[in-house]
Symmetry: C2
Subunit: 448 residues, 2 copies
């Protein structure tokens, strides 16, 4: 009877707790989906295990937590770029969503995204999009871990007639996955401008009763903040606080255009911020002052946003951009240093989900969500500081192995749970249909 | 007797001239290092050639021109990150350069960089560093194309005693490579703060006589601009203009902290700007207003800078960051669109070198410098707009083939001209020595 399911022997181990440590000659043993032991290499070699896995040239670290995404929008990747937010949404994204969003679209889009996400180091996804039932099934099949925050908006969509239906559908989904080890379900009220006060208040009450996480787009642009002040007399964050929706279960996504008073409000309420630097850059939304938030003791997680506004879903690439941009935004090259963004992408995400006891670091007893990054490429030579190499030199293609809940979903660079050729074919079929539709959109625009 | 050396059959052809076109079912034929024909696929299949190369899922485009680098500083990649510019230079980079810069260091560092550069899509490099003789040899061996701008500074280095020696060594190098097809040599006066007026004037006269390109770090930071005003009463660019060093052969690198008057000066003089977005972000230097420069008709090229301040030497990654950052810097998501940064990285670089008649596009008669990007990865699906996919979705690992002067230097993802295992070993040996030295630096700092 083996002691462990598998024992991993990386050249370097980056546990994240204790912080800023890189261990050599250490191994990690897994059992029943958990991290069962961290051992000196020579002891680990003697253990009885179903599988010993050598990871030469690899750094083993906690899997990355992508704290904001709209996975199935991957089918809109590259569909409408280099456009201002308003035309992007109104002329392209919204009409196409109305035309195409369906269970099939969500299944295919979610699987395409998940392949990309896992190969880029994500082991936990926080998602928010229509038909989360379909995304949940894709997550289940692929072996990914996810928190699905079901959309709550007042307008009718293919998924739900109104806010009440959103909530009913979402809570039914939450019930269905109550006992699932890797899937959680929370509330995803879109924003203070897309959801009525009444609905937001109802979400606040329900989320409180159910002790469920909430994710909301907040302060994405300066215009959103100004619009809220004109409409309600309040900044979005104050509005959210007044409605009882701001607290330690709330994940505030984007958070650009922040004054000192806003930062104080987040800190006082213990809410979490999800920083999406590439999406913000690409849409010209603004820059989240992540270092200032951290300096006030606020937890900051990291997300890619959807592929329609990034267009990568690669967390290694995202943390590189976060560090680089953070220095210039903060006016100090020490800001968002390599270790800080690694923490945002691991423990930061775990805290935002309220799962810091299970996820975000390699510690005995935690869930076995880990990635092994192959650092043998010439672009990683020489090795002075591994954290720096992972953050500043990564291409995002370094993921050699990935384990989620102890199961290897990537082995030697190959994704084990999804068929890439099939995903490509399905994406091509969708893009043909969507391209035709876009031609009719442009035709009718010119005809007007 | 075959008609062509090789005929390439990509799924997509992006010639860059005519602009913004993507051709399907077209092939490119090479002969004697030049582009000899661009043909419909069916005709091309019938041609006699030494080699027909199928490039399924690939986009064939001009090779990328990395217009600013210090190649051999790759041996300092990750050596000193997350530091302010002054400590980075004074406490780490300069003492280590003094200790280690030697012909061997430059050979090993140049080769490590060149492997990384070529695998990331660079086919032409503009470099500036000590012992350019050694870099020239590495460039020659590797098959890369390069403009080496030899350093001109007044202080003594391992390479040259003073500015006069720099110029003598550099001009000897220029003589040696006079007839070399792929190597050019120009002047690299470091900056207006590291080189005396007298030396700068001498460079101006010589470069004019020899009709040679000049590359200089200019307006890298606001502090540089303020320092120049205090020292000389002039902004660096005005100082350069007064010394006769600003003109159509001048490549101005970095160019942050620009006022309208500076932009007018560059435009009037016909000088070129080299934008290095990632280095500027990482050192917190500022942001070059690339879109504003383009709007004034100024040619803008793109560079990675050295690996000590980036830390990638990947031009695909650099153009992604350029586009994303450009939108936010310009306050408009239409700024630096995908086609614009592709042009900066190809034709922009060619114009900066004064070689737009030879490089930067796939046109009959131009030098056969091309890359084939494999777009089959899930992160590139679906295909709506290939330019957008290449710019926004690339990982930088897409280079499947690379031809320089008609010779395949990368075949099916494998670099043909350098031994990666050997490069890794040499990098490891250097990093061991440099790490020991760094420990003595820190020891002596603590002892003080």
């Amino acid at each position: 009877m083996p002691d462990f399911d598998s024992v991993l022997h990386p050249d370097f181990l980056i546990p994240m707790v204790p912080e800023r440590q890189i261990l050599k000659a250490h191994s990690v043993a897994l059992r029943d989906g958990r991290i069962a032991a961290i051992l000196p290499r020579e002891d680990a070699r003697l253990m009885m295990a179903v599988e010993h896995i050598d990871l030469p040239d690899c750094a083993l670290m906690p899997g990355l937590i992508n704290a904001h995404c709209h996975a199935s929008m991957s089918l809109f990747r590259g569909y409408a770029d280099d456009l201002p937010l308003a035309s992007w949404l109104q002329q392209y994204i919204w009409p196409s969503e109305t035309q195409f969003i369906s269970p099939d679209f969500i299944r295919d889009g979610s699987e395409l995204a998940i392949a990309d996400l896992i190969l880029g180091g994500t082991t936990t996804l926080i998602d928010q999009y229509f038909f989360p039932e379909m995304t949940a099934e894709a997550v289940d099949r692929s072996g990914l871990r996810a928190l699905l925050t079901f959309p709550v908006i007042d307008v009718e969509t293919a998924w739900a007639r109104d806010a009440e239906s959103c909530i009913n559908n979402g809570l039914a989904l939450r019930d269905r996955y109550r006992d699932h080890d890797r899937i959680d379900v929370g509330f995803g009220p879109h924003s203070t401008y897309m959801v009525s006060e009444q609905t937001l208040s109802r979400v606040a009450v329900l989320a409180d009763e159910l002790d469920a996480p909430i994710q909301i787009h907040l302060h994405e642009t300066r215009e959103e903040v100004l619009g809220s002040v004109e409409r309600t007399g309040m900044r979005p964050i104050d509005h959210l606080e007044q409605l009882g929706l701001l607290g330690p279960r709330t994940q505030c996504v984007h958070m650009t255009a922040l004054g000192d008073q806003d930062i104080e409000t987040i800190a006082t309420q213990g809410a979490h911020v999800v920083h999406c630097p590439k999406s913000n850059l690409k849409l010209g939304s603004g820059i989240c002052p992540a270092q200032r938030l951290l300096d006030q003791g606020i937890n900051v997680a990291l997300g890619t946003d959807g592929a329609a506004s990034n267009n990568r879903l690669n967390m290694l690439n995202e943390l590189q951009t976060a560090s680089l941009l953070g220095k210039t935004a903060h006016g100090d090259p020490r800001a968002l240093d390599a270790w800080t963004t690694l923490e945002m992408a691991t423990l930061g995400g775990a805290r935002a989900m309220g799962q810091q006891d299970r996820l975000g670091s390699i510690e005995v007893g935690k869930d076995a969500d880990m990635i092994a990054l192959d650092l043998s490429g010439v672009h990683h030579q020489p090795h002075y500081n591994l954290a720096s190499s992972i953050v500043y030199a990564n291409s995002g293609s370094e993921v050699a192995w990935s384990w989620i809940a102890g199961k290897a979903v990537v082995r030697s660079g190959q994704l084990c749970t999804l068929d890439l050729a099939e995903l490509r074919e399905r994406a091509a079929a969708w893009s043909a249909k969507i391209t035709d539709f876009r031609a009719t959109l442009e035709h009718s625009k010119h005809a007007n």
